[in-house]
């Protein structure tokens, strides 16, 4: 099964905060922390919890570049 989104970073959930509609999830990927905001419903249906192995999936058109 292949998804067209070109970025997938494996990591571990370090923090999970549920709001009314959205959820804020912090994922450790190597030395970086990746923050994700998904729906609360997805967080609940996926039964996400601290320590879970997940991948952060990102479309290439959503990746901006910054240069000094």
């Amino acid at each position: 099964m292949t998804l067209s989104a070109r970025n997938s970073l494996e990591g571990t959930i370090e923090e999970l905060q549920l709001g009314g509609v959205m959820a804020h999830v912090v994922v450790r990927v190597g030395q970086n922390l990746i923050e994700s905001v998904i729906t609360r419903r997805s967080a609940e249906e996926m039964k996400l919890k601290v320590g879970d192995k997940v991948s952060a999936v990102i479309k290439s058109t959503e990746v901006m570049l910054l240069k000094d």
Copy 2:
């Protein structure tokens, strides 16, 4: 100067392909390759080239999570 986007990953450009309107940029971030599609105009104005140090900047609402 602070941007509200919560994710910033430092890396080095490994590949750069220019199209008519868009540009495809591959950035090495540690052991991962991050792919970014930006406008050709930004790639040119930023004078992006292979070997440049850049950061990949991503809003948290654009980070999906995948769990096995």
Copy 3:
């Protein structure tokens, strides 16, 4: 395997146009045509062609609502 994106619509590719960096794909989903723009690289690596069964996957934050 579950993705946090909440929308997945099964359909069949009706049309595929490759550009230099991006690809335009038209997918029939029941009585609707869904149009998707992905990277040319994804279209090629996924070996997409007319007639392929695919799902259109969309994050809920990307779905706007229009009311008359």
Copy 4:
């Protein structure tokens, strides 16, 4: 009046949940359920309620493809 977003799917609101800032809306489109997260302010100003006819509007660059 034409919008550049290429996808517009007509449906009926089946469920509406208001949070502090965002609102989660479920729209029936034929045999599919489409989930949308918009601002609470838009939901209120549009006076959205269960049973309303709405269209789900989606830019083509936000439609990913998944192939088995």
Copy 5:
């Protein structure tokens, strides 16, 4: 007719560049130039040309904030 996207800025097209799949459009909005990348198909079907009055429509979740 109301769209949930909360930002709409009226302006005039100053420049239009067509690529194979995408189109780059520059819109003057008061003293600002707003740049938009849409599909070539939308640009053609909307018959966009320099001098056209258009509105730039942007979802609030796509607006980042930068503070010095």
Copy 6:
């Protein structure tokens, strides 16, 4: 320091509403009001408050066009 996002509009915060996970920010840019939804964490870490000078930053692929 240059970001690939092509739109940056200077303005002043007129209103700020914090939710559990997200924050809704209204920015006056000349004669327009621009609405932004960012994470509550960004709003807090950036210490955003009414009266702050900020720029609204938007990727060109997130700008749709509407024509009468």
